[in-house]
C-alpha cells in the first residue's frame, strides 16, 4: 500500500493545476455563450458537491434539494428588492434560512429510511413549491425580477459573463474545500459510519440524527448559495425555475453520474450531464420531434447500466486496459463501488 501513497505536495499540485486550468479557461473560451456553458457546468458541479455531503457521504438520499436552492434564491432576491441589501449578505442570509429549514425538516424526516426518506424530501419540496406559488408576498407564480439598471460587484450583477464565471468558480472551490474538510475530519468518518454501518455507529454512541442534521445543514447552506447565484445570473426567478422537482432530480443526477461519495465526482458528473443536455438540445432540439430527449435519456441509461458507480468509475475501468495499469494492484472499480 505504502508505495502508492501519493505525497501531499503532489496532490496539492494536482489540485492547484486543475484550479489554474479552470481559472485560465475563459482566456481561451471567449465567446459568451460558451462561457455561459462553462458557468452552467460549474453551477451544476457546485450543487452536486453540496448534495454529495448529505446524499453521498452520509448516505441520506435527498430528492428535494430544490427547496434549499429556492430558499437561497428567494431570500437574497427579496432582501435585495425590499431592503436593498447586497446579495453578498443576502446569500448568507439565504444560507441561514436554509439551514433553519433543514433542521426543521430533518428532525422528523431522519426517522425515515431509504426510499421513505427520499419520498419525504420530495413531498416537502413540492409543498414548499405550492406554498410559494400561492404566496402574494413572494409574488407567487409571477416571479421576481432583479433590477436591470444596476451592475457591479456590490449588487453582483454583471453585463459580461466573466465575473459570473469567477464568482461561481470561487463558490465551487469553497464548496469542494468544505466537502474536503468534512471528508478528512472526524465528522466525515461519522458520516460514513452512519451510511455503511448505522447500527454499529449507534452502538458506539454516535448520535445518528445529530450527524445527519449536520450533513443536511451544511449541504443546505451551500445549495442555498448556489440558488442565490442563480438569481443573480438569470435575474428572474419563479417557483418553476428554482423550486421545481426537476431541479432536485438534476442535482442528485449530477452526483450520481459523477460518482456518489467522491470528492470531485460531481464536478465530472456536471461536466458530462450539462454537456449532454446542452448539446443534445442545441443540435437536435430545434427539430421539435423529441430527438434531443431520446439522446439525453439514452446516455443516462447507458451510464447507469454500464457504470453504476458513475463516470469516475467508468474511467477507472478504462484505466485497467491501459498498459501497465494492471499491475497497480486492486481493481479501481472496486474502490469506487457505492453502497445503497
Amino acid at each position: 500500500m505504502s508505495e502508492r501513497t501519493i505525497p501531499t505536495p503532489v496532490k496539492a499540485f494536482g489540485a492547484l493545476a486543475l484550479l489554474a486550468l479552470a481559472a485560465l479557461l475563459p482566456l481561451v473560451v471567449t465567446e459568451p455563450s460558451q462561457q455561459n456553458f462553462l458557468i452552467l457546468i460549474l453551477m451544476g458541479a457546485q450543487l452536486g458537491v453540496a448534495w454529495n455531503i448529505v446524499g453521498g457521504y452520509a448516505g441520506q438520499v435527498s430528492l428535494g434539494h430544490a427547496v434549499f436552492y429556492g430558499i437561497g434564491a428567494y431570500t437574497s432576491t427579496m432582501l435585495l428588492l425590499t431592503l436593498g441589501l447586497s446579495p453578498w449578505v443576502g446569500a448568507l442570509a439565504g444560507g441561514g434560512v436554509s439551514v433553519l429549514f433543514a433542521l426543521a425538516m430533518g428532525w422528523p424526516c431522519f426517522r425515515l429510511k431509504g426510499h421513505y426518506f427520499a419520498m419525504a424530501t420530495i413531498a416537502v419540496a413540492e409543498i414548499v413549491q405550492i406554498l410559494v406559488t400561492n404566496s402574494e408576498f413572494l409574488e407567487g407564480a409571477v416571479g421576481l425580477s432583479l433590477p436591470m439598471d444596476q451592475s457591479g460587484w456590490g449588487v453582483l450583477i454583471f453585463l459580461s459573463k466573466l465575473p459570473y464565471y469567477y464568482v461561481i468558480l470561487g463558490l465551487l472551490v469553497l464548496t469542494v474545500l468544505t466537502a474536503w474538510a468534512i471528508e478528512r475530519s472526524h465528522i466525515g468518518y461519522y458520516f460514513r459510519a452512519i451510511k455503511d454501518e448505522p447500527e454499529a455507529a449507534r452502538a458506539l454512541g454516535v448520535s445518528l440524527t445529530r450527524y445527519k442534521l449536520i450533513a443536511l445543514s451544511v449541504s443546505a447552506f451551500l445549495t442555498a448559495l448556489g440558488g442565490s447565484f442563480y438569481a443573480q445570473k438569470e435575474m428572474f426567478i419563479d417557483p418553476g425555475s428554482v423550486l421545481a422537482g426537476a431541479i432536485s432530480i438534476k442535482i442528485a443526477l449530477i452526483a450520481i453520474l459523477g460518482g456518489v461519495g467522491t470528492l470531485l465526482g460531481p464536478v465530472l458528473g456536471a461536466a458530462v450531464l450539462i454537456t449532454i443536455e446542452e448539446y443534445s438540445r442545441t443540435l437536435f432540439g430545434s427539430t421539435g420531434s423529441g430527438t434531443d430527449m431520446i439522446i439525453y435519456a439514452a446516455m443516462i441509461i447507458l451510464v447507469a447500466v454500464f457504470s453504476p458507480s458513475g463516470v469516475l468509475g467508468l474511467l477507472g475501468d478504462l484505466r485497467r486496459f491501459l498498459p501497465g495499469a494492471r499491475s497497480k494492484g486492486p481493481d479501481m472499480a472496486d474502490k469506487m463501488e457505492i453502497r445503497p
Binding site: 438520499v61 421513505y116 413540492e126 431520446i294 443516462i300
Partner: protein
C-alpha cells in the same frame, strides 16, 4: 355545504381514488418484489393510453374491448425493459437504479413525441361514455368503469399473489430471494414476471383512463407524483396498502380541494403523507 354537495364530493373522490390505486398497484408490485422504484411507471401508463388510442383510431376497437390486448402489450414492454435495462442494474446501488428508471422515463417520453407527435389526443366516444345519475349525485360512466377496473385488478392481483403457485413463488422471491432460489425458483424469471405484471397493470390503467383523459407524451407526469404518494402511503410493496391509500388520497384530494382551495389540493395530500410517515415510518401497510 349541503349534504348533496358533500355526497357528490365524496363520490368523486372515491372514484378518482380508485383510479389512483389502479395506477399505483403495478408500481408497488415492482417495488415489493425487487426494491426498485420505477420512475418510468407514468410512461407505462402513457404507453397504455396510446395503445388504446391507436387501437381505436386505426382499427376502431373500443378501449374497453382492447384492454386484454393493451395489458398483453404492456406486459411485453415490461419484460423487455427488464431484460434490456433493469436486469443489468439489479445489484447497483439504489441511486443508480433511480437514475436508470429516470432515464427510461425521459426516453419513453421522447420516443412518444418522436413517433406520435406532441399533440393531445382524445378518444371521442367509447362504449363507456356518458354520465350516471344516482339521486342528486352525478358521475362519469368512464370514471365508474375505471374504478371498477381498479377493484378488479387489485383483487385479481391479490388472488394471484396469494392463491396461485406462480404468485406465491413471486411473493417468496420478494421476501427472500436467496431462499427462493434454493427452493428452485428462478429469480430472474420472477423479476421479469414482476415487471411484466407491473407494466400490464399500468397498461390496463392507461386503457381505462384513456376513455376520459387527454392522451399526450407527457401525460405520465400528471399521475406519477400522486402514484408515488399512494405507494408510500400504503407502504412500499403492499398491494392492499396501495388500494387503501389510493382511496384515501382521492378522498382527501377532492375534499381538501373543495374545502380549502384547489390550489392547495396537492399540498394537502403531501402533508397527509408526511404526517402518516411520521407516525408510521413504513406507511400504512408496509413491511418492516
Amino acid at each position: 355545504m349541503t349534504a348533496d354537495i358533500l355526497f357528490q364530493v365524496l363520490v368523486s373522490g372515491l372514484l378518482i381514488g380508485l383510479i389512483y390505486a389502479l395506477v399505483a398497484v403495478g408500481l408497488t408490485l415492482i417495488f415489493g418484489v425487487m426494491d426498485i422504484v420505477n420512475f418510468a411507471h407514468g410512461e407505462f401508463l402513457m404507453l397504455g393510453m396510446y395503445a388504446s388510442f391507436w387501437a381505436f383510431a386505426l382499427f376502431a376497437v373500443d378501449p374497453i374491448v382492447a384492454l386484454p390486448f393493451t395489458a398483453l402489450l404492456l406486459f411485453a414492454v415490461g419484460v423487455i425493459v427488464y431484460q434490456t435495462v433493469i436486469r443489468r442494474i439489479l445489484k447497483a446501488p439504489m441511486l443508480s437504479q433511480i437514475f436508470a428508471t429516470f432515464g427510461l422515463m425521459i426516453l419513453l417520453r421522447g420516443l412518444a413525441q418522436f413517433f406520435w407527435k406532441p399533440d393531445h389526443r382524445l378518444i371521442p366516444h367509447s362504449l363507456v361514455s356518458g354520465n350516471l345519475t344516482l339521486g342528486s349525485v352525478q358521475f362519469g360512466l368512464p370514471q365508474f368503469v375505471a374504478a371498477l377496473g381498479a377493484v378488479g385488478v387489485t383483487g385479481g392481483l391479490w388472488y394471484f399473489l396469494h392463491r396461485t403457485r406462480l404468485g406465491t413463488a413471486l411473493e417468496a422471491t420478494a421476501i427472500d430471494r436467496e431462499a427462493a432460489t434454493l427452493m428452485g425458483i428462478d429469480g430472474q424469471k420472477m423479476f421479469a414476471l414482476a415487471w411484466g405484471i407491473g407494466a400490464a397493470c399500468a397498461g390496463i390503467a392507461g386503457g381505462l383512463i384513456a376513455t376520459f383523459f387527454p392522451i399526450f407524451p407527457e401525460v405520465g407526469a400528471n399521475f406519477i407524483l400522486i402514484a408515488f404518494v399512494v405507494v408510500v402511503l400504503g407502504g412500499f410493496g403492499s398491494v392492499t396498502g396501495a388500494f387503501l391509500a389510493g382511496i384515501i388520497v382521492g378522498l382527501i384530494e377532492v375534499l381538501g380541494g373543495f374545502l380549502v382551495g384547489p390550489e392547495y389540493k396537492t399540498a394537502i395530500v403531501l402533508s397527509l403523507l408526511l404526517v402518516v410517515l411520521l407516525v408510521r415510518p413504513r406507511g400504512l401497510m408496509g413491511k418492516a
